[in-house]
Subunit: 339 residues, 2 copies
DNA sequence: CGGATCATTCAAAGCGATTTCAAATTTCGA
DNA sequence: TCGAAATTTGAAATCGCTTTGAATGATCCG
């Protein structure tokens, strides 16, 4: 069922039918109704490729992911959020996976040259992220999920990682903890650096010296977290509190604490960052987990919204959002044990 | 940079340039080289929309997901697997999320009518899954990840859920367990029904009566699993072993066992199904987790491969793969405690 | 009544590729 | 040397839609 068929069926020209369906004003209301009704009845849908070619818009927004590393639980939540918003606009999400960084750059070039997407989302940037400049050079509109220090205006949405960790650290200090371990993300990623800044700021505000042995940088998997926490718990004096970068990390720390036969919430405290996974609830852990919370799914939804605004003409200078992070105290964080 | 520009730049016709780039035989080797070199130097890429319109192929394969429910850790692993295979073919993955089942049907129709994809992947089917018939009616090639009992030939790839659970159950019976709980997936999904069959078969082979109180059907989240396991552990006599449907489920059972102050691997045993998440390793749990293992990422890669074969003309009757599942014994499963 | 205005409709020209069919040039064998 | 065959190139049609610019009738007003 092509436009041409539909037009013939109606005894009208393609022009009129196209206009009727796309809501142009210069078509008789009676005709418009007749067209709409017939199109619906016959299940007509414009061919996506033809439409894209004619309009120049591709009707898709792109996402390039380093497969193994990035397509984890965080990303799928983010995707779900984006998808929810885009679905109502009938805009597709185009997921491209790559293996290496070099492939990633090539992928951006390819996607740009073939005009497959109208805009892109850029993820977990580094402090200085060349991908940002690349996309600017390529002229593709994009929203950065996170921030970067490149001398260009970009549209971004980020959560207040610095503030979150600063508050968590301060709170633990208030509870008397002095040996607070930070399980942070990969060195070089902006969010990890921001968290480190918050951590150091809180420590220095109380004059508590920073001990590099109490800071780990790694991916957020329970396994790595387990190993890091395990070795930190062997230090003397050992840490009395952990700040875990994600819920996966928290699970690893959990295990390390248990294996060391310590009690979470008493001998050792923990505050974890919670991206709000529907299948891993901080409230229902045992003991329940104190968290710094920010829904990554909501972030996805909002990023989608921002992209739509940009495509509608909004100036990217006006697209900056820094989301506060709530500190939710539960059972896993308590007063530091007596010396 | 359009084909036309490139052709003018070369002093050739679009026809020749197009042929040269697409490897048609009737173009002079010297010319071909010159075209290829110039195209590469100028970074020419055919416009995706135009190419699709001209060829009739969309260069994408589709995936419709019910956002909240389906876009979890399993799916992101599967996606990563698919993406890896498709990337080398320059085929895109089009992710559409929907809220309700009704929306899902509409989404399939829409995608079909607008010819956005060349093929689709269908996921976690029900015993009788109408989506399968819908896709057949719509004439879209697809591969089913799982199986369904609809009277039609479809291409599918599935793991041997029945065999996996049967072996796990038999093994626990061998160890002397008689009260074995099964934390299964949502009722009606084929994989859950298959697992139930394996469970029941193993029980009845030993003449162990089936106790409905020891079977739970729910989504695979740690929270739900925790609640189910918790209430099961309150039964008397209580279950001495658990078969957990996923690693998330296992985490919940873990917690329930600990909260009940029992020891995993001694008073209570557990075998969990492991889809092989890179961030949640059965080997590194404490105690390490016995599992029935099958990489869902590999399944994704393979499904992608099968789709490519189908698009290349392979008969769907020849596309059926049932993957065996390995049983990996570790510390979480041990002999039943003495009465 | 007649010219201007308005409301509708349509034919045809893109969009940027592929592909059919024809033309031009070379090569080859008799 | 000449015609046929093979090789190489190109003009134009096509894919299915949007959109420009023109045409057709209907309506209005002096």
């Amino acid at each position: 069922m092509r436009l041409k068929d539909l037009a013939e069926h109606l005894g009208l020209s393609q022009t009129t039918v196209s206009r009727a369906l796309n809501g142009y004003p210069e078509v008789n209301e009676v005709t418009r109704l007749r067209v709409a009704e017939t199109a619906a009845r016959l299940g007509y849908r414009p061919n996506a490729s033809a439409l894209r070619l004619a309009t120049g818009r591709s009707g898709a927004i792109g996402l390039v992911l380093r497969g193994a590393e990035e397509l984890g639980p965080h990303m799928s939540e983010f995707l779900a959020g984006m998808g929810g918003r885009m679905a109502t606009e009938e805009i597709d999400i185009l997921v491209t996976t790559v293996d290496s960084y070099a492939d990633e750059v090539a992928a951006y070039r390819r996607i740009a040259a073939s005009q497959k997407v109208d805009a892109m989302v850029l993820h977990s940037p580094k402090i200085v992220d060349e991908r940002v400049r690349l996309l600017k050079d390529l002229g593709i509109p994009f929203v950065l999920h996170g921030r970067t220090n490149i001398g260009e205006t970009v549209a971004w949405l980020d959560i207040d990682n610095t503030g979150a960790v600063e508050r968590a650290t301060s709170h633990l200090l208030d509870l008397g903890h002095r040996r607070i371990a930070l399980l942070n993300g990969i060195k070089g990623r902006t969010f990890a650096e921001h968290r480190e800044i918050g951590y150091l700021a809180a420590l220095s505000a109380r004059g508590v010296p920073f001990d590099p042995a109490l800071m780990g940088n790694a991916v957020f998997t329970d396994e790595v977290a387990f190993r890091l926490a395990q070795s930190m718990l062997e230090l003397r004096p050992r840490p009395t509190a952990f700040i875990a970068g994600s819920m996966m990390t928290a699970l690893g720390v959990f295990r390390a604490i248990r294996q060391a036969e310590l009690t979470l919430g008493k001998e050792v405290s923990m505050i974890a960052h919670d991206d709000v996974f529907p299948y891993l609830n901080a409230d229902n852990m045992f003991p329940s987990m104190s968290t710094t919370r920010s829904s990554i799914r909501q972030a996805g939804t909002r990023v989608a919204e921002l992209i739509l605004q940009i495509l509608a003409g909004k100036n990217i200078e006006d697209v900056h959002e820094l989301w506060p992070v709530e500190l939710v105290l539960r059972e896993s964080s308590g007063p530091a044990p007596a010396q």
